[in-house]
C-alpha cells in the first residue's frame, strides 16, 4: 500500500514535539540566539550594577560632569548621577515597559483582528470603527492629556504608562491580521476544519492565529521598538515616567543638548538603546524563521 520510500527515508525519523522542533530551528539561527542571550544577560546585569560598581541610579556623587572612567564607566551628569547605573536602570525600565506594551498590543490586535476576519459582517464593522478611531487619534497629545488627568490615580507609575500605550498600539496589528485572515479563511484547510465540526473558537485559535504568527511576531518586534520610542517621546515631553525613575528614552533626551560638549551623556545611553532595539529585532527574525516551516530552507 505504500507509494513512498523514494523521497522519504524512514530511518531518520525521531519523534519530536512541535515546540521542540521550533526551538531546534531557533537554536540554529546564531544571530538570533546571540541577540537573545545578550538581551537576557543585559537584563540580568541590571540587577548587579550596584554591587559591582558601587553606584545606584538615585545616588548623587561629588563628581559632576565627568567623562567615563574606572569609577564611573559611563561618566556622570551635571548633578552627579552615575550614568552607567542610570543607563542600566533605564534599560530595565524600557524592557519592562516595552514587553508589557507589546504583550497587550499583540494580544488585543491578534485576537480582535482574527475575530474581525473570521466573522466578517457586523463584528468586522464594529471592531473596524474602533480600529479606525484609534488610528486617526494623534497618539502623543492623547497620552499627554491622559497622563495629566490620571496623575492622581498613579498616572506616572510604570505599569500604568505601559498599559495605556499598549491599549493604543494594537490597532495597526489588528488591521494586518484581519487582512491576512481574509486570505487564509478561503483556504481549504479552514473549510476542512469547519467540515470536521470545529467550533469558531477552535478555528480562530488553532488554525487562523497560528498561520498569521509570522506576521504577528514581526509586528510584535516593531511594537517593542515603537513602545520604546513612544515612551521616549512621553518622557521628553515630561509625561509618563517621572524622576527619580529613569528610562533609556528619558536619558537620551536629557543628554541630547549636551551631545557635543559631554558626549557620554547622549551617546552611551543611546548605544544601549540601539543595542536593545537591534537585539529585539534579531530575536524576532529568528523566531519567524523557526515558526514558519516553509521559510526554513535558508542558505
Amino acid at each position: 500500500m505504500t507509494d513512498l520510500g523514494s523521497d522519504i527515508s524512514a530511518h531518520q525519523v525521531v519523534v519530536r514535539a512541535q515546540w521542540r522542533t521550533v526551538l531546534r530551528r531557533f537554536g540554529s539561527h546564531r544571530l538570533a540566539v546571540t541577540a537573545l542571550l545578550l538581551a537576557i544577560i543585559g537584563y540580568a546585569f541590571t540587577y548587579f550594577v550596584e554591587p559591582l560598581t558601587g553606584w545606584n541610579y538615585k545616588q548623587l556623587s561629588a563628581d559632576l560632569s565627568q567623562g567615563p572612567s574606572s569609577a564611573h564607566w559611563f561618566g556622570t551628569d551635571t548633578i552627579g548621577h552615575d550614568m552607567f547605573a542610570q543607563s542600566m536602570r533605564g534599560l530595565r525600565v524600557s524592557i519592562h515597559v516595552s514587553i508589557v506594551v507589546a504583550a497587550i498590543a499583540t494580544l488585543l490586535g491578534t485576537v480582535l483582528g482574527a475575530v474581525q476576519g473570521w466573522f466578517r459582517g457586523r463584528v468586522d464593522a464594529g471592531v473596524g470603527v474602533l480600529v479606525d478611531f484609534l488610528l486617526i487619534l494623534p497618539l502623543l497629545p492623547v497620552l499627554m492629556v491622559l497622563a495629566t488627568r490620571t496623575r492622581a490615580i498613579g498616572g506616572s507609575s510604570l505599569m500604568f504608562v505601559a498599559v495605556v500605550i499598549g491599549l493604543f498600539l494594537w490597532a495597526p496589528l489588528a488591521r494586518v491580521v484581519r487582512g491576512e485572515v481574509f486570505a487564509i479563511r478561503e483556504k481549504e484547510y479552514i473549510e476542512a476544519a469547519a467540515a470536521l465540526g470545529a467550533s469558531n473558537t477552535r478555528i480562530i485559535f488553532r488554525h487562523l492565529i497560528p498561520n498569521v504568527m509570522s506576521s504577528v511576531i514581526v509586528y510584535a518586534t516593531l511594537t517593542v521598538a515603537t513602545a520604546i520610542l513612544v515612551e521616549t517621546a512621553l518622557a521628553f515631553l515630561g509625561f509618563g515616567i517621572q524622576p527619580p525613575e529613569v528610562s533609556l528614552g528619558a536619558l537620551v533626551d536629557e543628554g541630547r543638548d549636551s551631545a557635543r560638549t559631554r558626549w557620554w551623556l547622549f551617546y552611551l545611553p543611546g548605544a544601549v538603546l540601539i543595542s536593545l532595539v537591534l537585539c529585539v529585532n534579531f530575536v524576532g527574525d529568528g523566531l519567524r524563521d523557526a515558526l514558519d516551516p516553509r521559510q526554513r530552507k535558508r542558505p
Binding site: D7, I8, L196, N211
Partner: protein, 698 residues
C-alpha cells in the same frame, strides 16, 4: 504521417541542458534532450510536472530567467540560437518562432485592447501603418473564430471569456506567419468543451499559416488527438520518441507504458483497476546518475541504477527511439505491460467486483431535493442593496444509496462544488432539503450539525491547501478525534489511519510540506476517515495530481470503499475519472442536472445534447480511435449564472434548440431509455463521441 519524415527540418535541438541556480542548489531541470521539428508537423512533448518540458521550449525561445544556464545546441534552419545576440533573437522571436502560453489571463496585457496587442505584435516585425495592422488584427481574430471580430478588436481581455482570450493569444502568435508555433499547455486552464474548440482553432490556425506546432501537454488524450510525433520526457530527459501511432500502440519505455496504464479512459468500463506508477519523480537538485526512472520501474536491474543514463536508441522502426536498458521491444498487449510495470501482486490487481452489502437498508443514505443556492450580488454602496443574484445551484435533486458512488460531473461554473458545500452546510443553501440517514440537515442547529459531521466527511481538491501548514500530520489527523472527544487512544488511531492510506506511521511528526502531492492527498483522506464516516464527499480529489499519482489515489479510494462500505459523492470535471469510479453519474450544467443515471448507461447512451458534446470533447489516448471519432463541437461559452437563460439553460449552445426550450424548463425524467434526461428532445446517439467505434454514418 510519413510525409513529415523527409520534410525539411526547421528546428533541431541537441543535448539541451538547463541548470537553474537557486538558494537550495543547482536544479538540473533539463539534462540532455534531443528533438527536431519538421516543417508543418505537430510534435507533442508530454510528461508530468517537473519533467522539464516547459523549460526545454522556453530555452528554445530564449525566454529563461537569468539564473538559468543553457548548454547544448538549438538550431533554427541551421542557425545556432544559443549564444546568439539578443537583438537577432528578438527578430526571430514572434516572427519565426512564436508562443502560446497556458494562462490566457496573465499573458495578455489587461490595460490594452486585444486588437491593439495583436497589432503591436504585427508592427514589431512588419512595416505596416497602424490602420493596416488593425485591419490585420481583425482578420486574425476572424480566423481564430472570434465572432464579430470588428467589435472584438476593441475589447479588453477581461471582457472576453477564457476560451476567447486563448483564441486571441493564438491570433497574436500566428500574426507574423511563424515557422514554428510553440503552445505550452494551451488548454490546461480550460474546460473540456472549450479545450475541444481551442484544439480545433489551433489546428486551423496552424494550417492557415503553414507552421509547425510544438505542443506541450500532460494529457496523452490531447496528444493522441492532435500530434504527429511525440516526445515523452521524464526527469529532464527524453524517455521515448516516435510517431504517435508507434508510441501509443507499442510503447517501448516502461514509463510510457506505465503512463498509458495509469490513465482512466473514457472507453473502458468501470471495474478495471488502474496501475499506478509507484513512488514519485526524483528531485532535480540531485538527479540520479543512472536511469532516473529506475527506482519506480519494475523492469529495473542493477545496471539501471549504476550505469550512466541510457541514451535514446532506435528500435524496430528508425523513427522510434527509446532511452531504456531493457526496452519493451517485443509487442505485448497493454494490459500485460501494465501488470509487469506495477509493483503489485496479482491478487491486488484483480478487478473489483461491484460492492454488495448484505446489510443494505432500503432508501438512500443521502437525498438532496430541490436544492437552491443563490449568492446575492450587492451594490458597493454602504447600504449594500441586493441588485441581483448568482444562481449557482437551482433546484437540484439527487440520491445516493449506501455503498454507492455517485459521480457529479460538470464544467467550471456548473455549480457542482457549491452543491457539495451546500450538502455539508459549509455554505448555507437558500432553499431545499438535504436528508442524511433520514435526518434533515438544513434544519439542524450548528451544534446538532456538528454531531452529524462525524458521519459526513469531505476530501478537498488541493492537497496542499487543505492541510494546515502549521500542524504536524499526526495532529492534523487527530484533530477530528479531538473535536469530537473520541475517547480511545488517539495516537494509535492516527498510526492505524496512516497505515491504512499507505503512509508510514513514523511520519506523523512531519509537516505537510514535506510530502508529495499524492501523499498529502492520502493524509487528507486519512483525516476524513478518522471518525469512521458513512459518506465521503470527494471534491475533485485527484484533479491536482499527475496521472501516475492519480491512479494510486483512485485505487486507494476503491479499496477503502470496499473495506468500509463507504458511500461516495465524487465531484469532478474529468469524465474519464468519473466513469472509472462511479456507479451512478449526474451531469450538471449551469446549476441544474441535465442527465443522471447508471454510469454505464449515461456514458454509452447519452441522450442530452450537452452530455453528448461533453463526451465527444474528451480526448482518448488512442490516436487511431481519435482519428475516426465523430465530434460534436459546442459553440460559445457557458452562460453567466448571474443571468441564466430562460427555460432550458443549455439552449444557448444547443443545436436542437426550439422556441419551447426558451419557454419551459424541461423536467428530469426518463424518456424510456433507463435513465433520466432533462431535455425536450432527448435522443440517444449510437456510436456517440467515440466510446464505441462509430458504427454508421447518419
Amino acid at each position: 504521417m510519413t510525409e513529415h519524415n523527409d520534410a525539411t527540418e526547421i528546428l533541431r535541438v541537441r543535448d539541451l541542458r538547463v541548470d537553474f541556480s537557486t538558494t537550495d542548489g543547482v536544479v538540473q531541470a533539463v539534462r540532455g534532450v534531443d528533438f527536431e521539428v519538421a516543417a508543418g508537423e505537430v510534435l507533442a512533448i508530454a510528461g508530468e510536472s517537473g519533467a522539464g518540458k516547459s523549460v526545454s521550449v522556453m530555452a528554445t525561445m530564449g525566454l529563461l530567467p537569468s539564473n538559468a544556464k543553457v548548454s547544448g545546441s538549438i538550431r533554427y534552419r541551421g542557425q545556432e540560437l544559443l549564444g546568439m545576440p539578443e537583438k537577432s533573437l528578438e527578430c526571430l522571436r514572434g516572427s519565426a518562432l512564436s508562443m502560446v502560453f497556458q494562462d490566457p489571463m496573465t499573458s495578455l496585457n489587461p490595460v490594452m485592447a486585444v486588437g491593439a496587442q495583436i497589432a503591436e505584435a504585427v508592427r514589431v516585425h512588419q512595416r505596416l501603418k497602424r490602420q493596416q495592422a488593425t485591419q490585420r488584427a481583425t482578420e486574425l481574430l476572424d480566423l481564430v473564430g472570434i465572432a464579430d471580430a470588428k467589435r472584438s478588436v476593441h475589447s479588453f481581455p477581461h471582457e472576453l471569456s477564457g476560451g476567447m482570450r486563448q483564441r486571441a493569444m493564438i491570433a497574436m502568435a500566428i500574426a507574423n506567419n511563424p515557422d514554428v508555433l510553440i503552445a505550452d499547455e494551451p488548454t490546461t486552464a480550460l474546460d473540456v468543451t472549450i479545450q475541444a474548440q481551442i484544439l480545433d482553432v489551433l489546428e486551423r490556425a496552424r494550417q492557415a499559416v503553414g507552421s509547425a506546432l510544438v505542443l506541450i501537454t500532460h494529457d496523452l488524450g490531447v496528444v493522441a488527438r492532435t500530434a504527429h510525433r511525440l516526445l515523452v520526457m521524464y526527469a529532464g530527459r527524453g524517455a521515448e520518441s516516435g510517431s504517435v501511432d508507434e508510441v501509443f500502440s507499442r510503447p517501448n519505455h516502461p514509463y510510457t507504458a506505465g503512463l498509458l496504464a495509469a490513465i482512466p479512459r473514457l472507453d473502458t468500463p468501470r471495474g478495471q483497476r488502474l496501475v499506478p506508477i509507484e513512488g514519485s519523480p526524483p528531485s532535480m537538485l540531485s538527479p540520479p546518475s543512472g536511469c532516473a526512472f529506475a527506482p519506480r520501474c519494475s523492469r529495473a536491474t542493477e545496471t539501471c541504477a549504476q550505469d550512466p543514463s541510457p541514451v535514446p536508441a532506435t528500435g524496430a522502426s528508425p523513427t522510434h527511439r527509446c532511452a531504456c536498458h531493457h526496452p519493451l521491444s517485443e509487442w505485448q498487449p497493454l494490459g500485460s505491460l501494465a501488470a509487469s510495470n506495477g509493483k503489485r501482486t496479482g491478487e491486488e490487481l484483480a478487478p473489483l467486483a461491484p460492492v454488495e452489502h448484505e446489510t443494505e437498508q432500503p432508501g438512500p443514505i443521502l437525498a438532496v431535493s430541490d436544492l437552491v443556492k443563490h449568492f446575492p450580488i450587492t451594490s458597493r454602496s454602504p447600504l449594500r442593496r441586493v441588485r441581483g443574484a448568482i444562481s449557482a445551484v437551482s433546484g437540484v435533486s439527487l440520491r445516493i444509496d449506501k455503498g454507492d458512488t455517485l459521480g457529479l460531473v460538470g464544467e467550471s461554473g456548473s455549480g457542482k462544488s457549491t452543491l457539495a458545500r451546500c450538502i455539508l452546510r459549509l455554505i448555507e443553501p437558500t432553499s431545499g432539503s438535504v436528508k442524511f440517514n433520514g435526518t434533515e440537515l438544513t434544519e439542524l442547529t450548528r451544534k446538532q450539525m456538528r454531531q452529524q459531521r462525524r458521519f459526513l466527511q469531505v476530501v478537498f481538491q488541493d492537497p496542499m491547501a487543505s492541510l494546515d501548514p502549521r500542524m504536524t500530520v499526526a495532529s492534523i489527523i487527530a484533530e477530528p478525534l479531538k473535536i469530537h472527544r473520541v475517547k480511545n487512544d488517539s495516537s494509535s488511531r492516527v498510526e492505524e489511519l496512516l497505515e491504512l492510506v499507505g503512509l508510514y506511521p513514523q511520519h506523523g511528526n512531519r509537516y505537510p510540506h514535506e510530502f508529495s502531492g499524492g501523499q498529502r492527498q492520502r493524509i487528507g483522506i486519512a483525516r476524513a476517515l478518522a471518525l469512521r464516516p458513512e459518506v465521503l464527499i470527494l471534491d475533485e480529489p485527484v484533479s491536482a495530481l499527475d496521472v501516475s499519482i492519480q491512479a494510486g489515489i483512485l485505487n486507494l479510494l476503491e479499496d477503502l470503499q470496499h473495506q468500509f462500505g463507504l458511500t461516495y459523492l465524487f465531484v469532478a470535471h474529468d469524465l474519464s475519472v468519473v466513469r472509472h469510479i462511479s456507479d451512478h453519474v449526474a451531469v450538471m450544467y449551469l446549476g441544474r442536472i441535465v442527465e443522471a443515471g447508471r454510469s454505464d448507461q449515461v456514458y454509452t447512451t447519452p441522450a442530452h445534447p450537452y452530455t453528448q458534446a461533453l463526451l465527444s470533447a474528451v480526448p482518448i489516448p488512442d490516436p487511431q480511435r481519435e482519428r475516426h471519432r465523430q465530434r460534436i463541437l459546442l459553440h460559445g461559452d457557458i452562460a453567466s449564472p448571474a443571468n441564466p437563460p430562460s427555460g432550458c439553460r443549455f439552449r444557448t449552445r444547443c443545436a436542437k434548440a426550439e422556441p419551447i426550450c426558451a419557454e419551459t424548463q424541461p423536467p428530469l425524467s426518463d424518456p424510456g431509455i433507463g435513465h433520466e434526461v432533462a431535455c425536450h428532445f432527448p435522443e440517444v446517439l449510437v456510436g456517440d463521441g467515440g466510446l464505441e467505434p462509430s458504427t454508421s454514418a447518419v
